[in-house]
Amino acid sequence: MNLPLKNISDLRTLRHLLQKSRDKNKPCMTICAGTGCQATGALEVVEEFRKEILHQSLEERVEVRATGCHGFCERGPLVVLRPEMICYTHVETKDVHRIIQETVLEGKVIENLLYQHPKTKERIIHEYDIPFYKFQQRLVFGANGEIDPTSIEDYIAMGGYQALEKVLTEMDPEGVIETIKRAGLRGRGGGGFPTGAKWEACRKAKGKEKFVICNADEGDPGAYMDRSLLEGNPHSVIEGMLIGAYAIGSEEGYVYVRNEYPLALTHLGIAIEAAKKYGLLGKNILGFPFNFTLKINRGGGAFVCGESTALMASLEGRVGEPRAKYIHTVEHGLWDQPSNLNNVETWANVPIIINRGADWYRSIGTETSKGTKIFSLVGKINHTGLVEVPMGITLREIVYQIGGGIPKGKRFKAIQTGGPSGGCLPENLLDLPVDFDRLQEAGSMMGSGGMIVMDEDNCMVDMARYFVNFLQEESCGKCTPCREGLQQMGEILNRICEGRGKEEDIELLQDLSWVMLDTSLCGLGMTAPNPVLSTLRYFKDEYEAHIQEKKCPAKFCKELISLSIDPEKCTGCGACLKVCPVEAITGEKKKVHQLDGEKCVKCRACYEACKFDAVFIQ
């Protein structure tokens, strides 16, 4: 096949050749090599498989493929043998030989590597039967488990760039915009703004050049959906941006990626180079009078750069300070030209909508929130990972059916959605459907997709303090309400957590919140009060306990707890003494140990170290 591809026919021929040459029934080990699994040794597992297969000359019989993130992060490293979809969890290098021998060659399943249900203890063989996967609808994320993200041919073979073909051959720009509008796609970065309307406004705007931008600055702590999409399926984003550029009339695009995502940067870089080589980026794409180039910009480590005007300032080489948005960026954005900015997941939804049609897309989700959403389900949950669910599913289904409930038999306390801009929802709201508007009504928001689960050992006042402290650090400082408001809120919340809260603090927090909501320059300041307001709304009793009784009901806040050793349980093993960083514990071997409360810094190292439950917190 000659490169670059000169026309649609070339692309179709290539796809056909690739599909014909690949045997769908040939066994293939797909091994998750996303950042999460890499951190638990996935790359060593991949190497071991490759070595063993070479050593036993089995290349013709089984393929080894390192893929992007599968999503089931809690059970990594993950190995899925296709086509049967036998799923092995927590795989180590020492398991590789056995997997090849028993599963690949002898067709047997290895019980202790299978997923085990935490309650029923049932062992499940196939990925599609595991509750974590079974209740998801993995339209956007599904390909992550199948393809090698560094291979453009994998993407093309599974149908990639077909949406681009359709757009170039059958649709005009207005038609594309109508389709996206009809599908009801709303921004997946947090704002939920109707994507079709944004594209239309940008198309209509006047300027000497137009830009399309992908916001991959995913700053919400605890959210990593975009990272996994870029690591695992970067071409889906490129294809989406190509379609958007065609619709809007843009020839230049930027992907702004967080500096803290090295693997995503690498894979996206490889994908862009490959797309250029194949003629899918550049001039006269596939023989049409359509030019488009894509550049990557790395973030500098500033949460505020996830805000669209701050991001554009950063692209221009300036500090990430936002500006007022009554001047719309679709008319005056990057370099004062019409610019269309969308989130990674939003762009990745575009090829799917074009391929399968707006009416099909509309059939998924609720009246006002169509399609699916990827969430990062993290915190105090059994099945930590990335889940893609149809809009309208309830929080309860996500936490218990997919998430497997709360570990260590603890009680659910709250679920936080929307990152630092969102809110904490209590147990009695678990039946709320996931939907842009319903979550907002309850005092939270969809946000970019972070979903943090908290249990009885988490303090809600501390959660509010955590988010306020985070935002205080990240505030750009340009406008007074945000800069000063967050500082004051931080001081008040710190005082409360340290046992120096005053009666009037609650009202003061509420007043500060309303001022910040109404008068901050950008979304950071405007939504900063949400964690405070939602915890005050649903967990006021915890605030009152901290202020009036100087107690932390969850026994979390350092200054309000004290640790001691129970002389009846202590065996004098010395484990606590060894780990204490300030030498607050004394005692002889086999004799009861003592904890000096004055020296204790409440780090809980002793509590974690003690195997006899002799350290208690009050």
Binding site: D220, P221, G300, A302, E608
Partner: protein, 164 residues
């Protein structure tokens, strides 16, 4: 300490001498030199015709940049929400006490720099520590000392191979 201005100029040229690429240029200088030396920033100011104060504005705004030399090993504690909920702040606290420095600082012997990071995206392993790009998961204050020991005994050469 001598600063390789030749390398700085090469980096600026690689970015096409563009003012808009200031952030990318500073990132590459930081990667090469482990921090942003003043002399390098003066060179950038000259080459791109950007006021030095503007460069300092950018260098002090973004967390990726540091104006002070870093330690041989950088310890990053994830303080993302998921790690926080699982006790990440306690791990940071423990390290501060153990090393005798505040978060953001470097030990006097220039062995360790302690930083916090807001979400590395490996939440299933929380709380997480990253030392020179190596991830340590499910950390609690109890598990810190044996890990630190590994790096305390390492020689200068060891840290180099972990940098790509």
């Amino acid at each position: 300490m001598p600063v390789d201005l030749q390398a700085v100029c090469e980096i600026i040229e690689r970015h096409g001498n563009q003012k808009a690429s200031l952030i990318g240029i500073l990132q590459d200088i930081q990667t090469r030199m482990n921090y942003l030396p003043r002399k390098a920033l003066v060179q950038v100011s000259k080459s791109l015709d950007i006021p030095l104060t503007t460069i300092y504005e950018v260098a002090t705004f973004y967390k990726a940049f540091t104006l002070e030399p870093k330690g041989r090993h950088t310890i990053q504690v994830c303080l993302g929400t998921a790690c926080h909920v699982r006790g990440g702040a306690r791990v940071l606290n423990y390290l501060e006490n153990r090393l005798g420095i505040r978060c953001g600082g470097t030990t006097k012997d220039l062995v360790f720099t302690l930083e916090s990071v807001n979400c590395l995206g490996a939440c299933a392993l929380g709380p997480i520590l990253v030392i020179d790009k190596k991830y340590y998961g499910k950390i609690n204050p109890n598990k810190v000392d044996p890990i630190l020991k590994k790096y305390q005994n390492s020689k200068l050469g060891d840290s180099m191979e972990s940098n790509p």
